[in-house]
Structure formats: C-alpha cells, structure tokens
Amino acid sequence: MTILRPIFYLALLALIIAAPFLAPDFKTQLATLWLFIILSMTWDMTGGQMGYNSLGNILFYGAGMYVAAVVGISIAYNVGEYTNAFGGGTYKFTTTEYFLGMGLGLVAAGLFCSAIAWIMGYLLFQFRGPYFAIGTLGAAIAAGELVSNWEWVGGGQGIALPVYPGDFDTGKFFFYYLFAGIGVILFIFLRWLYNTRFAAAINAIRDDEEKAEAMGLHTLRYKQVTWAISAFFVGIVGGISGYQLIHFEPLETAFQTINLGIFMVVCVLLGGKGTLWGPIIGAILFHVVKEVTWNYLLGWQWVALGALIVITVVYFQDGLMGWLARLKPEWFGERVITKPGPVAEPAE
C-alpha cells in the first residue's frame, strides 16, 4: 500500500494535467467539474467535518466574484464609470492589466471572504442545527438582493469583465488549469489539515459540542477559523468564475442560492460527509449525472436530479463513503488488538 500510494497520486496528477488534451471539446465542462469539487470540499469543512450545515456558502462565491472583478477593473479604470457604461465605451485592458488585475482581485477576494466569514461566524455560530442552516441561507439571499441594488457595481445588470487576452481556446486551457491548480492545492491542504489536532477539535464539535466545551476547547474560535479558511477558497474560485464567465449578474450567477448553492451540498451528501474523498467523488458523480440528464432527458433533468437526491437521502444517508465504511469497517482502521502491540505510529 505504501508503495502504491505515491504511484496513485502521480497517475492522478498526470490525468489532471492531461485531461483537457484528452477531451479537448470538454475543457469548460472539466473546469466546471473542478469548481464543483472545490465547492464541495470547502462545504464539507464546516458541513461534514464540523457539523454545521451551511446553506449560504454561495455568499462567498458571489462576494468573491464581485471583489475580484472590482479590484481587477479598478487597477485600470474608475469602477463606477466602467459599470455604468456596461460594456459600451472604449475600455481596453492591456495583457498586463488583465492578469495583474485578476491576480490581485483573486487574492483580495479570498481575504475579503475570509474576513466576512469570520464576522458572520461570530454572529451565526450562536445558532445550531437547522437554525444555522436557515440563518446562512438568509444571509446569502440578502447579500444577493443588496448587491443587485448597488449601482456602483452595476446593480441588477451585473458586471461585464474584459475577455481573455489571447485566443479563445488558450483561454479555456487557462481557466481549466487555474481551477485545477486551486483544487490540487486545496486537496493537499485538506489532506494535511485533517490529520492535525485542529481537525480533531472540529470533529469533536460535530460529535458533541457540549462535551467539547466542557473539555475546554476554544469552540467559537475553531468554528470561525474553519469557516474563514473555507470561505477563502470559495472566494477565490468565485473570482475565477467571474473572469471565466466574462459577464455575470447578481441573482442568477453570483449569489445563485438555489442552483450552485444547493448543488455543493448535494455533492457532499452523495459522496459522503466528513471524508476527504467523499466530496470529490460526489462532485464527479453529480456533475456527470447532471450533464447526462441535461443532454438526454431535457425537460426532465430537474426531475432526474430530484430523484437522485431523494435516493441518496433515503437509502445512502452517509453517502458512498459512509456506505463503504459500514460495509468494510476494517478498511477504515477499525480493529481489535488482543496482544499488546507496538505503539501506533502517529498518523502521517
């Protein structure tokens, strides 16, 4: 197993790099798949690992999209004038301006979303269970409405960003690798994080928060940090999505609570909450089912998607990984040791 693991990861990395060449017609689809994977993994940090089911993580996606766009525009033009012209006028971005603006925008988006997650966490982590879920959903909807009435950022019409300065196909490669890069970094980060004491603490909060409090854990601080990290990545991919879409508007694209906001939750439920691979597997499965039904069952796609959700919730409540864990507990390290064995190695 120990020899197979690096081989497996190397093969996976090769596949990730080669994917847009192997399926050149599906570059944008694959980029979207990465978006789903990243959103699912970040959602699982609070929903799966910490037991706080947020229905409002889409807020960070939307906020990230707007912050990245505004910062990106502001390095070359006055934002108010730019958005009011709405794609008209002569607003040209040089290649340097485009990439510099995007780069700064993405960093700003991540940091901004972390900050609002920290503040929102202070207010919303007072609530538990369904109250937290509804509270976050309310915050996301309110944010969308607020932004759609804010003329400086284009109001209900949204923002039109400059197009990728290069040929159309290269742009598709660029966005695929940008999403994939963030996804790989996030995976490596989470793989490390889930072995730390911090992860054990947030798992304790999920399993019995009162006990965790009685043991003296800094529960509120840990919850805020978790959500802030999660929001950091969501903000960045929100920003990337904005540049990839070129034009976005507040309610249907940026703060799309009923589509992407719910999809990420479904992906995690499908794959298995509270596991490293569950959200990834769930996102792949969900995306494939979604695209297949959109292509072959047009008109019935929402029904098919609904059926998938119902089947998951009724028959696979712990998702695919949870189902596996119950089928094969020994794969997940459960065992009785009768002889006083050697002291266990610290988890890698």
């Binding site: 004491r197 911090f198 054990a200 603490a201 019995d208 006990k211 043991m215 840990y222 040791i337 610290p346």
Partner: protein
C-alpha cells in the same frame, strides 16, 4: 489549602429549590465526596460549579477567583473539569481519537493546534487507555463499547486533559461490580500519582467511604452533614435521610 470554595449558594428551578444556602470546601490535592439521596441536589451543585447555569445567590471560587459568573468553556480552561452522569464521549471515533481530542487545548495556541499529534501524545493516550483497561479496544468505535467501558473512557479522557480538579458524577454507576475495586484503585492513583484533586458524587457507599478524605451529605437541597467517612457513617441524620426518615 482550599481549591474550591462554595459559599452560601442557592439555586431553584421555578418553584423547586434544588440547592439552598450550600457551603462546601474542596481541599487541594484531596478526594472529597458528595453524597445524598436521589434528587437531593448533588448534580445541580456540580452544574453550578462548572457554570452550566447561573446561580441565584452565593459565591463560588476556584483557586481564590470568583467563577460563578463565568461560562462553561472558560471555567474548563482554568483546569476545572467534569464528567457527566450520562456518559459523553465522541461515539463515532475510536478510543485513541477520543483521547487525542482530549489533549489540553487550553494550554495550546492556535498555531500549535495546526500541528499533528506527537509521538508523545500517542504514547500518553495509549498509556492512559492501558491505565483504565481499554488498551485492547483502543481502535474500536467508542460508541460500540459497553456503558461501563464508555465511563472508563470518559475518565481516561479527563485524565488526558491534565485537569487541576476533576468533578466526577457517579463514576461507578453502571460499572460491573467486579471492576469497581479496580476503578477505586485507579481513582486513588489518579489522585496520588497525577496529583489531581477529586470531587466525587457517588451513590455506592462502600466506594466513597473507601476513598474520600472528607464527605458532604445533601438532602432536600440542603447541606445535612459534613465530616470524615467515619463521622458520616455514624451520623444518625445521614442514615435517616437515606432511609427516608428525614
């Protein structure tokens, strides 16, 4: 030296007076017992000390500082820890994971929380699991253990947290009688070897008379008697309270 000073504490739930003017001291480094018939207000007093609810009047001091207005986590972070009458463990995790979560987070900075557990942490976890006799079952889901074993695990978790004072709510309830002697021995060793002050609610008279240096007896929410185990055993009021004469 007194480590916990409860002075004149009252607590009522609606019209029910759960505690009336209770004054109790817990000596540092000792084992103090709290007995009394069912419903006499023992757990209410524990909950008042660890901050689960505000008290109506009186003062509670820990190491000389007033804690009666503090929140549960803040009191726990001072090193005053409690176990629950209805055992609380993290049922979906195995015993070792339960132990590692119980590392004293109050002594940890946020940066230290973002590190993996050291070899010493693992060794200490295994050592303490061995101490309570759960070494063989350490990689089993803790929720699958028997109630008595879960109680032992909760005790081991409390020790892992390196508390100054440990409040135990009926540590032997639900434990197989043949294991009770072993548990008494372990509680005593936790006190003598690890230097943890113990404050114990117990119904099993044999257990508490065997361990405690000083015993307080509650009845109907009031302090009925206090003294050494011998004094308590010889106190007619205590005997009456248990037999329903009070």
């Amino acid at each position: 030296m007194k480590i916990i000073e409860v002075h004149d504490v009252s607590k009522s739930y609606g019209g029910v007076k759960a505690n009336t003017d209770i004054t109790i001291d817990v000596e540092k480094g000792g084992i103090t017992g709290l007995i009394g018939p069912n419903g006499s207000g023992k757990t209410t007093l524990f909950n008042s000390i660890v901050g689960y609810h505000p008290i109506d009047k009186g003062s509670i001091k820990f190491e000389g500082n007033e804690i009666s207005k503090m929140k549960v986590q803040d009191i726990a972070r001072l090193g005053l820890l409690r176990t629950f009458q209805q055992t609380r463990i993290y049922g979906d995790m195995n015993c070792v994971e339960n132990m590692l979560i119980s590392l004293p987070h109050r002594k940890m900075t946020l940066r230290e929380a973002f590190t993996t557990n050291t070899r010493e942490d693992h060794e200490r976890a295994e050592h303490l699991l061995d101490f309570v006799g759960l070494h063989e079952k350490r990689f089993l889901r803790s929720g699958s253990l028997s109630f008595g074993q879960q109680k032992l695990l909760e005790f081991a978790m409390a020790l892992m947290n390196e508390p100054t004072v440990l409040l135990l709510d009926e540590p032997t309830a639900g434990i197989n009688p043949t294991l009770i002697n072993g548990l008494i021995d372990r509680l005593k060793r936790a006190n003598s070897e690890f230097g943890i002050t113990l404050f114990i609610i117990e119904h099993n008279m044999r257990v508490i008379m065997n361990m405690a240096d000083r015993i307080y007896c509650l009845a109907h929410g009031e302090l009925l008697a206090a003294g050494t185990p011998d004094q308590i055993q010889g106190d007619q009021r205590v005997v009456d309270a248990y037999l329903g004469e009070h």
